[in-house]
């Protein structure tokens, strides 16, 4: 069919092929098609002209000159950043390895000298009890020791057993022994046994005492190596 072939093969900007000339002269639809597409082509070609600012070349030159160095910069920066990270990592690891293992530090104050006396940098196992024991003026409920390490631990703590409302050595034992028991139960728990603080809180009016166990959630707290289950006499003295 000549109409279909003409529409498929004829290019609007080219001459009408010889095989189609007679047909176009006779066929009104094909003639209209050819004329419309020719006009469209001319109209589209007229859109090609777009003004360009006079300083276009200068702007391109300026951008090109600025853009040239960054081809090297990202790589150099990446290498430098990686180097800095590697050095910082090595330095940190080296420092960790060379620092001597420390036992937990103790902040000891006489029970009678302060309203709030930090007693011990204790392991983490008491952290669950913190909400229960945090209330001032209320005698804390402390879980009984899971194992009979009380003898060792009671010597590490300062008993405050004067008066009916005073916190007994057994209370300290309970809190601390649970922590120590949990350490001893599974030495591989080392990453979980963080430092914490146990505070003895005493209400001066009612003379009631509470134990406040602060879990080690403070930003920047530092992991310390496990303390041996049985402290040396020197260590006991330091803690007390």
């Amino acid at each position: 069919m000549t109409c279909g072939r003409l529409r498929r093969e004829w290019e609007p900007d080219g001459p009408i092929p010889s095989w189609a000339r007679a047909h176009v002269a006779e066929c009104t639809a094909c003639r209209a098609h050819v004329e419309e597409l020719s006009r469209l082509r001319r109209a589209l070609a007229a859109l090609a002209e777009v003004p360009v600012p006079e300083d276009f070349t200068h702007r391109v030159r300026a951008r090109a000159l600025v853009a040239r160095p960054p081809a090297l910069w990202p790589r150099a920066l990446a290498v430098a950043a990686l180097g800095a990270i590697a050095v910082a990592l090595l330095f940190t690891l080296e420092r960790e390895r060379s620092s001597p293992p420390e036992g937990p530090r103790a902040f000891v104050a006489s029970p009678s000298s302060a309203e709030i006396a930090p007693r011990e940098m204790a392991p983490h196992a008491t952290s669950r009890e913190a909400p229960e024991t945090a209330a001032l003026g209320k005698r804390p409920r402390v879980a009984p020791p899971a194992r009979s390490k009380g003898d060792q631990i009671s010597r590490m703590t300062t008993p405050a057993s004067v008066g009916p409302n005073r916190t007994s050595a057994r209370d300290y034992e309970a809190v601390l022994s649970e922590a120590f028991v949990s350490r001893e139960a599974d030495p591989s728990d080392a990453p979980l046994s963080h430092d914490g603080v146990i505070l003895l809180l005493r209400n001066e009016e009612t003379q009631e005492e509470s134990i406040l166990a602060i879990p080690p959630v403070v930003f920047g707290s530092r992991l310390l190596p496990l303390r041996p289950a049985s402290p040396t006499p020197g260590e006991r003295r330091r803690i007390l």
Binding site: L37, A48, P51, F56
Partner: protein, 198 residues
């Protein structure tokens, strides 16, 4: 400067590779208008078109060492410009962006040709007014084409590239290119029927 006028594009690129900035300026002068026009018809935003046209030349400059004279230089340049334009169109689609200039121009009834209208104190003759109006309508019809048809017909009927070049620029088979151009023409013919009668 004028000594470069008789140099071929490939020779100029070889000189650019050697660090000849004068040769680069000559290439920019040769292709600044086609590139800006091409990008303007694709993006329908004059400022972005200018920016991307400059970026096209910057990329050409930065990658001059990678240029190989196996192909037509203009094909290479159009390929860079097309990639930039397609990225810009996709970015706009993602963020649903539009040109404030075009938006306000359209509201004022000025159409998207407004950036090119230089103030002329003389009243325009009727024929010129009609010509400008028709040009504006045709440009708007081109801008309304779907992206894949628009790119193809702008390269062919506005920029005047050969089918083979277009296929290379777009990375498409020749048949696909011809088909897209045909469909775009038929779409425009239907849409502009009343304006193409004279």
């Amino acid at each position: 400067m004028s000594g470069y006028a008789c140099w071929s594009d490939h020779d100029l690129m070889a000189a650019v590779r050697e660090g000849d900035d004068g040769a680069f300026d000559e290439l920019v002068r040769r292709y600044q208008s086609p590139m800006t026009g091409y990008l303007y018809r694709l993006l329908n935003d004059y400022e972005t078109a200018l920016d991307l046209a400059q970026e096209t030349f910057v990329r050409l400059y930065r990658n001059a060492h990678r240029y190989r004279a196996n192909h037509n230089f203009s094909t290479y340049l159009y390929k860079i410009a097309t990639n930039l334009a397609i990225s810009e169109l996709r970015r706009r689609k993602r963020w649903n962006m539009f040109s404030l200039v075009s938006f306000f121009a359209a509201r004022d009834g000025e159409g998207d040709e407004r950036p090119f209208d230089l103030p002329d104190p003389q009243p325009l003759p009727d024929a010129q007014i009609l010509h400008e109006e028709r040009r504006r309508i045709i440009a708007r019809a081109v801008a309304s084409l779907p992206e894949k048809y628009r790119v193809a017909i702008v390269l062919r009927d506005i920029q005047g590239l050969e089918y083979e070049q277009i296929a290379e620029v777009l990375g498409l088979p020749l048949g696909t290119v011809k088909s897209r151009i045909n469909r775009a023409r038929n779409f425009l013919r239907e849409k502009l029927r009343g304006y193409l009668s004279e």
